[in-house]
């Protein structure tokens, strides 16, 4: 079933939302590349969940509100978003920048969240463990560095970019810079408050992640009470794209367990 598309105004921001499926609500927060395309893993998840994939304020077809300056703003926006949709017991899943947003939401308010899944998540910094500098990477380097399987990188690069896609990319990169340029992809205060996360938490990482190295997995695990970590072998920064089967089965297993 194709996803339904709508525009919802939340906190004054006209927001583009994809939604498909029935079941428990699953809110997926995308990474810095945006969510202008409904991806196969979203489709598969929609066979079990009520999958909601918004494009963040400042990304894709969503507006760029004047109030948007930090990931903290983004976190409060999504808490409003949950209220707006009347969601409860929502499974919150965030990849990369989206993971950071989800973590910032969860330290503020977990009352409507059933579980938290962070995939190759940004948000904290470990001294001496450098993240990849995606702002310095060329499009070719970006594709090569995001995937472990270079055939997938080639496939991504082979997709021609039309003008609309170019505009989206420029817009998304600008918002990402605004949120994450300095300090680079983290909030120096977040690590102090991750203990506030009171819902079951799953950390998923590609063992070969070259943007946010897999060493960040154990660091998050140490800071979030009871969090479990799964590192996926032969996988880069995007397990949901590179290893969709493992990603989905792990996520489904985890949410089923938390529902019990």
């Amino acid at each position: 079933m194709a996803p339904r598309e709508s525009f919802e105004t939340v906190a004054g921001c006209r927001t583009h939302v994809w939604r498909a499926g029935d079941g428990a609500s699953l809110l997926y927060l995308h990474g810095s590349n945006g969510a202008s395309v409904w991806l196969p893993f979203m489709q598969t998840l929609s066979e079990r969940f009520d999958v909601i994939v918004p494009e963040h304020p400042g990304y894709g077809l969503s507006d760029t509100p004047d109030w948007l300056d930090t990931v903290g703003d983004m976190a409060y926006f999504y808490l409003d978003f949950i209220d707006h949709f009347g969601l409860d017991r929502v499974h919150l899943v965030g990849g990369s920048l989206g993971g950071w947003i989800a973590a910032e939401m969860a330290v503020r308010d977990c009352s409507h969240v059933a579980s938290l899944t962070l995939v190759g998540s940004a948000g904290i910094h470990m001294k001496g463990v450098r993240k990849g500098d995606m702002f310095m990477w060329s499009p070719e380097e970006t594709a090569r560095n995001l995937f472990h399987d270079q055939a997938l990188a080639q496939k991504t690069l082979a997709v021609p970019m039309d003008e609309a896609a170019m505009l989206t990319m420029i817009k998304n990169r600008e918002t990402t810079a605004k949120l994450a340029w300095q300090p680079r992809f983290y909030n120096p205060d977040l690590h102090k408050w991750l203990h506030r996360i009171s819902v079951p938490t799953l950390l998923l990482w590609g063992a070969e992640d070259r943007l946010i190295p897999a060493a960040y997995g154990p660091a998050f695990k140490e800071l979030i009470p009871g969090a479990r970590l799964m590192t996926i072998e032969k996988c880069g920064h995007l397990p949901q794209v590179e290893k969709p089967d493992v990603f989905i089965s792990t996520l489904v297993g985890f949410t089923e367990e938390t529902a019990r």
Binding site: F135, M136, W137, S138, E163, M166, L167, I170, K171, R173, E174, T175, T176, A177, K178, W181, Q182, R184
Partner: protein, 390 residues
């Protein structure tokens, strides 16, 4: 037309084969390529060159600001300007820096410019820029806030110079309860403000605003772009209810003059080549970080694709009017033609570029002063000041 010698102070001793290992002379080129012994000599040679221009009657000397690169060794331009302040006697000193958005406290610029203005008795020209994209990588400054921070920093500095202190500044990025700069500027209400730019409507609208009327400087651009932006300034000024004078627009360009066209070409070629293909070299991601330019201009760059970083020859840049070379007669003719058709009041010349050595730089400065400058000086004495040509 007024004449200025603008220096970049490149690390001319750079091993030009660096590009076999590194993709840029900026940000990521290891500073082990820099030899302090050679650097010491270069700094002093370059300062001598600027001082020579002062003695030969140039209207001004210009220093600039770039960070973490071999292209220009003036990360802190106030140091260079300070060294020149006492050794030069008549030339204006234009600091074309300062990259305002990089600063956590822009009041430092209000202070250093005020000091220079006092020491020189009002010979300072105060440049305000955003810096090029590479600066945002080098300093970790956020390119997506660059415009906002530029405008706030500008407002704050002008407030420091023009409002009796202590005053309060309340911005989004900067907030100060005590804006009370000592010393006050020597020139009142403040030193002339110049805005160097690669060209954008937003920058021109800012510079040409009726309450600003700042001098807009077009830097290293094709002559067609120069003409377009100069005309744009004039139009914006008219829309704002006044007529722009030549004093409000300037052009910065590398220039080499020698005995004949042939000699000029032969002597300049390897050095302009190094300037274009070694010192300026950087990937697009370094030059244009996200948010640094508008979405529209970024679109243009993405579509043009190959232009940045492509190899350029002396003939490419000469054909576009981005480099002027030739005999004194040729240089006079070109400048006169451009001046007549475009009408700019300030000509900033890079009389040293890339690897151009001391003896050729000296000859260039002296030949220009002896054989090109007087021609325009005499013409200027005969003509009243003109408005910018349409």
């Amino acid at each position: 037309m007024k004449f200025y010698f603008m220096h970049l102070m490149p690390y001319a001793d750079l091993d030009l084969d660096y590009d076999k290992k590194y993709n840029s002379a900026w940000v990521t080129l290891p500073n082990s390529y820099y030899d302090p012994e050679k650097g010491h000599k270069l700094y002093n040679r370059y300062l001598d060159e600027l001082e020579l221009a002062d003695r030969l009657g140039f209207d001004g000397v210009c220093v600039n600001e770039h960070h973490q690169n071999a292209y220009g060794l003036m990360p802190i331009p106030a140091v260079t300007a300070g060294a020149l302040a006492r050794r030069t006697k008549q030339a204006k000193i234009a600091v074309l820096g300062r990259a305002l958005p990089l600063l956590n406290n822009p009041l430092v610029v209000a202070e250093e410019y005020a000091m220079l203005d006092n020491i020189t008795g009002g010979r300072l020209i105060a440049g305000f820029v955003r810096g090029i994209g590479a600066e945002y990588h080098a300093w970790g400054a956020n390119p997506a806030n660059s415009h906002e921070r530029f405008h706030e920093a500008h407002d704050l500095i002008v407030q420091a110079w023009t409002q009796p202190g202590p005053s309060v500044y309340e911005g989004k990025h900067y907030h100060f309860d005590y804006v009370n700069t000592w010393p006050r500027t020597y020139q009142q209400p403040h030193p002339p403000i110049w805005i160097p730019s690669q060209g954008s409507l937003e920058t021109i609208e800012f510079a040409a605003a009726a309450h600003h009327r700042y001098t807009y400087l077009q830097t290293f651009s094709p002559i067609t772009a120069l003409a377009r932006y100069m005309a744009m300034y004039k139009e914006v000024a008219e829309r704002n209810g006044y007529t722009a004078t030549e004093e409000q627009v300037g052009w910065s360009v590398p220039l080499y003059v020698a005995e004949t066209d042939e000699i000029a070409r032969r002597e300049a070629e390897p050095h302009i080549d190094a300037f274009l293909n070694k010192f300026l070299r950087m990937p697009r991601e370094m030059l244009l970080p996200p948010g640094y330019t508008s979405v529209r201009s970024m679109m243009g760059v993405m579509k043009a694709k190959s232009d940045i970083g492509g190899r350029q020859t002396i003939d490419d840049v000469a054909a576009k009017g981005m480099f002027i070379y030739g005999s004194p007669a040729t240089v006079r003719e070109k400048l006169e033609e451009y001046h007549k058709s475009i009408g700019f009041g300030h000509l900033l010349m890079l009389l040293q570029f890339g690897t151009l050595p001391a003896e050729l730089t000296r000859k260039n400065i002296e030949t220009f002063a002896a054989e090109v400058m007087p021609f325009f000086r005499e013409a200027r004495a005969r003509e009243p000041a003109r408005a910018v040509a349409r």
